[in-house]
């Protein structure tokens, strides 16, 4: 395990710890962790087209979130992993010399940033929901109320359901 892996593992543990009781957050955190493990193990085994496998794992997360998400904040996880899929496609295309290649350092840094953003986003929103901060609390003071008002749309039900649940 490298330093990056260890720091991500610590980040995952923290995110899991702060969102205890929020099973939806745990589900997405563990899915992201599984995707990271599969793509990293494949990459380090030296097999070809690792970016393809990474993209496939991220696409699987995207589809799972799209079909199972309930709240609006979860749909941002979908957007985040869409970006990750896109980065993998760009890197893979460069590897195949279909277009100018993206440097491996840039690729790794972008993916790390996405992983950390996912941990922060899911952990943060999971924690906010887990402590019940999204429920009504009339005694809350001015700045807290303003913050709650700003964040509250994230905890409403998503705007459009998955196409399988949509009417004709």
């Amino acid at each position: 395990m490298t330093g990056v892996d260890v720091s991500l593992l610590i980040g995952l543990m923290l995110a899991l710890a702060v969102s205890v009781g929020n099973l939806r957050a745990w589900k997405w955190l563990l899915a992201a962790a599984a995707s990271y493990v599969v793509s990293v193990v494949y990459w380090r085994s030296g097999l070809p087209y690792a970016a393809f496998i990474g993209g496939l794992c991220d696409a699987a997360i995207c589809l799972t979130v799209y079909f199972l998400a309930k709240f609006r904040w979860e749909m941002w996880v979908w957007r985040l992993f869409q970006f990750s899929v896109l980065v993998n496609i760009v890197y893979l295309g460069g590897e195949l010399q279909a277009w100018p290649s993206l440097s491996h350092n840039a690729y790794s840094i972008i993916l790390e940033a996405i992983n950390w953003a996912a941990l922060l986003w899911i952990g943060g929103n999971g924690a906010i929901q887990a402590i019940g901060a999204t429920d009504a609390f009339p005694s809350a003071g001015g700045s807290l109320r303003r913050l709650r008002r700003a964040l509250s749309p994230l905890y409403r039900d998503r705007k459009a359901p998955a196409f399988t649940k949509a009417g004709h």
């Binding site: 696409a59 799209y66 899929v85 195949l96 279909a98 998955a162 196409f163 399988t164 949509a166 004709h168």
Partner: protein, 94 residues
């Protein structure tokens, strides 16, 4: 590479492109999903290789067949959606 394998490679690329399209641009309902999937898959299989040769100028390897079929499939998924929306927008009053 024999003809059947070539077709399988193109079909694989088209399928991949349709899955990618689903990731980036989900359809409105199940009917739209079926129509778009079939359209994107057929476009990828039929036009993937001509597009690779004529416009992309990519070398003739199986990876490029997969990639070009996937790109055509992805683009046709988007084009179908855009066309349906445009036609819908210009529909006269009921």
């Amino acid at each position: 590479m024999d003809e059947l394998t070539t077709l399988a490679v193109k079909a694989l690329g088209s399928f991949g492109g349709a899955v990618l399209a689903l990731v980036f641009q989900p359809p409105l309902n199940t009917r739209d999903f079926i129509i778009r999937s079939v359209f994107a898959f057929l476009c990828g299989v039929l036009f993937g290789d001509p597009v690779r040769q004529q416009y992309l100028n990519w070398p003739e390897t199986w990876q490029m067949w997969v990639a070009s079929s996937a790109i055509v499939s992805l683009a046709s998924w988007w084009v179908w959606g855009a066309a349906v929306r445009l036609i819908g927008a210009y529909k006269g009053p009921k």
